[in-house]
């Protein structure tokens, strides 16, 4: 058994031989994840803002593209140490079960919290990192990866007895396939920083970006531990001032191969940067502007960045200008970045607008609606609508106009109806990254004009024999209003589909029924973001 502590990514080159390159490469290999996060530490600690969110993000990403099935991905957030220990025991039991069943178990533990002197602070309780490390060491998983994002987290390697070595010093060609790897966000006595601009910790933010595909240096669609660590180390070190934050790496393994941490190629959705693109891109969610990734795209090699389905804002800085591009990532689809679609704004303007920044707040829509009969016994109404949809963060509004034609039988005549409508609708929508659809709730109001013309049974005879004039057409103005509920489904590029249903209180003066009635309607449409 060998033990090494590394502080520089160059030393990881040989670690590429450690483990299978693909999470799914070994047929009987399974991954178990425990993600721990706690914003609240000791009473004397300034509460963190993103530790728990980082744990959730890490879990979501590893489930999505890290080969961890949801039922083996444990999440413990905002809990004291005893609960974490209980969950560790549960995980240990699960690992033992899988190992007893002959499965090849890879265990990943991620922890993000306050720490001092090598002890995690969890809601006023303490969990020594050494205890965590040692408990993992006793588990029957073939390979155990502990990632700690906490101040002074490098102490976990020191406590184990390893000593950080100089860069590029360690040769790993003889390493074995099994063992334990520890990655910490900072060295001993170093802080681990959070950044509001990133809505997360610096280390985890870069690690997540790495796993999404930006660290895929060889472009094989797989991000190995080596690639992820190298990337995260470089970004973390360069992203901090003084004192600098140096992630550390410690391993105690045997064998050969690579540990593939993620497979962006298998993501449900991805943002694809063609090879020719170059520059710094910042990707953040919309409407809540959480920064997801910062990409320093070099020309000559394409990049596929795994992201959860949803709506994102892409920014590219070019001197005093910022190029903006809003992109919909549909569930199970990719979107390709094209600089020609960037809308260039003045940098000062972008800074001023902040979270309200949206380069494509509007969309045109065409839809087909089916409404319950506005007049008893005359059948449902089918109408074609065109409209303009305007979004501002989670709020949406729409103006539309519709037209429909209908023919129906009456008691002794046939009625031809042409209806025109104009309406407004507005409401709230839930734009959550990772959700394949965008739920919407709101209210609509519409003014409609009905034009009815009539042909009686035997109309020709009635006029010729009974000398009666044709029945005059009728024009009626009505209105309707009510709640609507629906979903938007992102399709391709700016295209989306929309399904809505609603209840309507209708006002329509009519001969044989009350002017006020209650109806229902449904609408299916497609739209294109401008």
């Amino acid at each position: 058994m060998r033990l090494q502590t590394l502080v520089a990514p160059g030393a990881l080159a040989a670690f590429a031989l450690l483990a299978p390159a693909s999470p799914a490469r070994a047929a009987d290999s399974v991954r178990v994840l425990l993600a721990i996060g706690s914003d609240v530490g000791d009473p004397s600690d300034q509460p963190l803002r993103y530790a728990e969110a980082d744990a959730e993000r890490m879990r979501a990403l590893l489930v999505d593209i890290g080969g961890v099935s949801p039922d083996r991905a444990y999440l413990v957030v905002g809990q004291p140490a005893e609960i974490v220990r209980e969950r560790l025991s549960e995980v240990a039991g699960r690992v033992a079960e899988l190992a007893a069943a002959g499965r090849d178990v890879v265990l990943i533990v991620y922890a993000s919290a306050h720490a001092r002197d090598g002890v995690l602070h969890l809601r006023g309780t303490h969990l020594p990192l050494a205890e965590l490390r040692d408990r993992l060491a006793r588990l029957e998983a073939r390979l155990r990866l502990l990632i700690v994002d906490a101040c002074d987290s490098g102490a976990v390697t020191r406590a184990k007895g390893g000593t950080p070595g100089p860069e590029y010093q360690v040769a790993l060609e003889q390493l074995q396939l099994q063992g334990q790897v520890i990655v910490s966000s900072s060295g001993p006595a170093e802080p681990s920083l959070e950044a509001d601009a990133l809505s997360g910790s610096l280390f985890t933010h870069h690690l997540l970006t790495a796993l999404r595909g930006d660290a895929d240096a060889d472009g094989d669609g797989v991000v190995t531990l080596q690639e992820a660590y190298s990337y995260t180390y470089r970004r973390t070190v360069s992203g901090t001032g003084f004192p600098r934050q140096h992630p550390t790496f410690d391993f105690d393994v045997h064998g050969a191969g690579e540990l593939a941490l993620s497979q962006p190629l298998k993501a449900r959705a991805a943002l694809v940067f063609p090879a020719a693109l170059a520059g710094q891109y910042v990707i953040s969610t919309q409407p809540r502007p959480d920064m997801v990734a910062e990409i320093d795209k070099a020309p000559g090699k394409p990049l596929r960045l795994a992201l959860a389905p949803g709506r994102y804002l892409l920014r590219k800085r070019d001197g005093r200008r910022v190029g903006l591009y809003a992109v919909e990532l549909p569930y199970g689809g990719d979107a390709t970045v094209d600089d020609r679609q960037l809308q260039w704004r003045d940098y000062a303007q972008v800074i001023a607008k902040g979270a309200d920044l949206d380069p494509s707040p509007g969309a045109v829509m065409a839809s087909l609606s089916l409404d319950s009969p506005p007049l008893d016994g005359t059948g449902a109404r089918l109408r074609l609508h065109g409209g303009f949809l305007l979004g501002r963060a989670e709020w949406w509004g729409m103006a539309s106009a519709g037209l429909g034609a209908q023919q129906y039988r009456g008691l002794s005549l046939t009625t031809s109806e042409v209806a025109g409508a104009a309406g407004l609708a507005a409401g709230y929508r839930w734009l959550q990254p990772g959700w394949p659809v965008v739920p919407m709730l709101g209210a609509s109001a519409e003014v409609e004009v009905l034009h009815q013309s009539f042909v009686r049974d035997g109309e020709e005879v009635i006029q010729r024999v009974f000398h009666l004039d044709p029945l005059p057409p009728l024009v009626t103005v009505g209105a309707r209003a009510g709640p609507v509920i629906g979903v938007e489904v992102p399709l391709w590029r700016g295209a989306f589909a929309s399904v809505q249903a609603g209840l309507q209180v209708r006002y329509l003066p009519a001969e044989d029924q009350p002017a006020f009635t209650v109806g229902a309607g449904a609408q299916v449409g497609v739209g294109w973001r401008l």
Binding site: V447, V475, T476, P509
Partner: protein, 426 residues
């Protein structure tokens, strides 16, 4: 939303509202919209006793295109209904609006016989909407209508014919020159024909009050049957499982006296199996003999009082007394010839006991009716008599005596007549 978008939306809305205002707004027409009626029938529903129905009574017209005969058109269904909105203060009076011509399947095409357009005859039916669908459903095969017919504007076949009944006519074109009903002088559009008990009828204004007797027998359900009157050669046959005579029989005959010196009469009784040959019929104590060719009994009533006794096997015997009117005395004889297209004027002395006179002009070539008129007076002028067939016509004037009716469904109408064939010259 941008100000520009709001501005465009507002303009569109304003345009729609302006269009609506310009066109003249009003309440929207629903399923029941119909415009003004093309015709309205009015009348009274009558019952023998106070009628207190829990179920509302509705009205419909059942059209019987095969009554028109000749060209049955598409009248595969003998009875075709035409619903219309009923409003009124039932059970005393009603107003029945018609919003269009009868349905196409109720009409007989007049083109094959040289006419144009269509015609049909119908009966006004009062019914209770058994299945609640708001219309009169027609029974088919052996199944009666799910609705209950409670009365008709014509006569209930299981009962003695009422003194007056009505049926509705429709004509939207021109009858051919030999149409059987040419002499009815049907108006274009809807018409109303008033029928006097077993004798004949006349067209009356459409606003004439129609009486509908609510008899509530099973027999009236016959009128809501697709097979009703489908075979006019055997009209007595049940349809939709309904026996028009409700297990009884019907004796309704007209005593026609053509020669005052030798009165003759053919009469008979009917049930659901057809003419009854085994009845015992006595006129003034003399047994009458069955004449198979005429499917009736032959006898010689006397001018003045007569006594008829009738015994049908399986039924109690009954007796009817009637008075046969004396001969008609014309002031001027009917001429042997007449110029075509001229009219014929007749006048006569009143016949004691007679309240109505009936003039019929038929073609001797094919028997079609050229003119048909009724009067309670003692003179009549025919319509211009067209040259049809070989120009041979038969002019018949009837003096209709008082009907004798039994408690059962039997009746006798005594008539004396004068007839003469006339040659029309061109």
């Amino acid at each position: 939303m941008t100000k520009r978008a709001m501005g465009k939306q507002g303009l569109a809305l304003a345009a729609i509202l302006a269009l609506a205002a310009g066109a003249g707004c009003g309440p929207a027409a629903g399923w029941n919209h119909h415009g003004p009626p093309v015709a309205t029938l009015r009348g009274q529903m009558q019952a023998d006793s106070e009628v207190a129905t829990e179920t509302p009574v509705m009205l419909a017209i059942a059209w019987f295109p095969n009554w028109v005969g000749g060209s049955p058109g598409s009248g595969a269904r003998a009875a075709v209904t035409q619903e219309a909105t009923f409003r009124g203060s039932f059970p005393v009076s009603f107003s029945f609006d018609l919003y269009g011509p009868p349905p196409p399947e109720a009409l007989v095409d007049l083109a094959p016989e040289g006419g144009s357009g269509h015609m049909s005859f119908g009966v006004l039916i009062a019914f209770e909407d058994g299945n609640g669908n708001g219309r009169l459903d027609i029974g088919t095969g052996s199944n009666p209508s799910p609705d209950r017919v409670v009365g008709v504007s014509t006569h209930d076949p299981s009962l003695t014919a009422p003194p007056i009944s009505f049926y509705v006519t429709y004509l939207d074109g021109q009858m051919g020159p030999t149409n059987e009903f040419l002499g009815y002088h049907l108006p274009r559009g809807f018409g109303l024909r008033k029928v006097y008990r077993g004798v004949g009828g006349e067209m009356v204004p459409l606003d004439t009050s129609i009486s509908i007797q609510l008899t509530r027998t099973n027999a009236v359900g016959y009128f809501a049957c697709a097979g009703a009157f489908a075979n006019l050669d055997a009209f007595w046959e049940p349809a939709c499982g309904i026996d028009q005579y409700e297990g009884g029989y019907h004796f309704e005959d007209i005593v026609v006296v053509k020669d005052p010196n030798s009165p003759s009469w053919i009469g008979g009784a009917l049930d659901a199996s057809g003419p009854i040959a085994g009845a015992v019929v006595e006129l003034n104590g003399v047994g009458l003999s069955w004449v198979p060719e005429a499917a009736g009994y032959y006898g010689q009533p006397a001018v003045g009082p007569n006594d008829l006794r009738l015994a049908v096997p399986g039924h109690a015997p009954e007796q009817l007394s009637f008075t046969l009117p004396g001969p008609i005395s014309l002031h001027q004889p009917i001429p042997d010839t007449l110029p075509a297209s001229s009219t014929l004027s007749l006048s006569w002395d009143p016949v004691p006991g007679v309240g109505m006179y009936d003039l019929r002009v038929r073609s001797l070539n094919d028997g079609h009716l050229i003119d048909y008129q009724l009067t309670t007076g003692t003179s009549l002028v025919t319509a211009p008599l067209p040259f049809t067939g070989g120009g041979q016509i038969l002019v018949t004037l009837h003096a209709v005596g008082q009907a004798a009716v039994s408690a059962r469904s039997s009746s006798v109408i005594p008539i004396s007549s004068v007839a003469k064939s006339v040659t029309l010259t061109r």
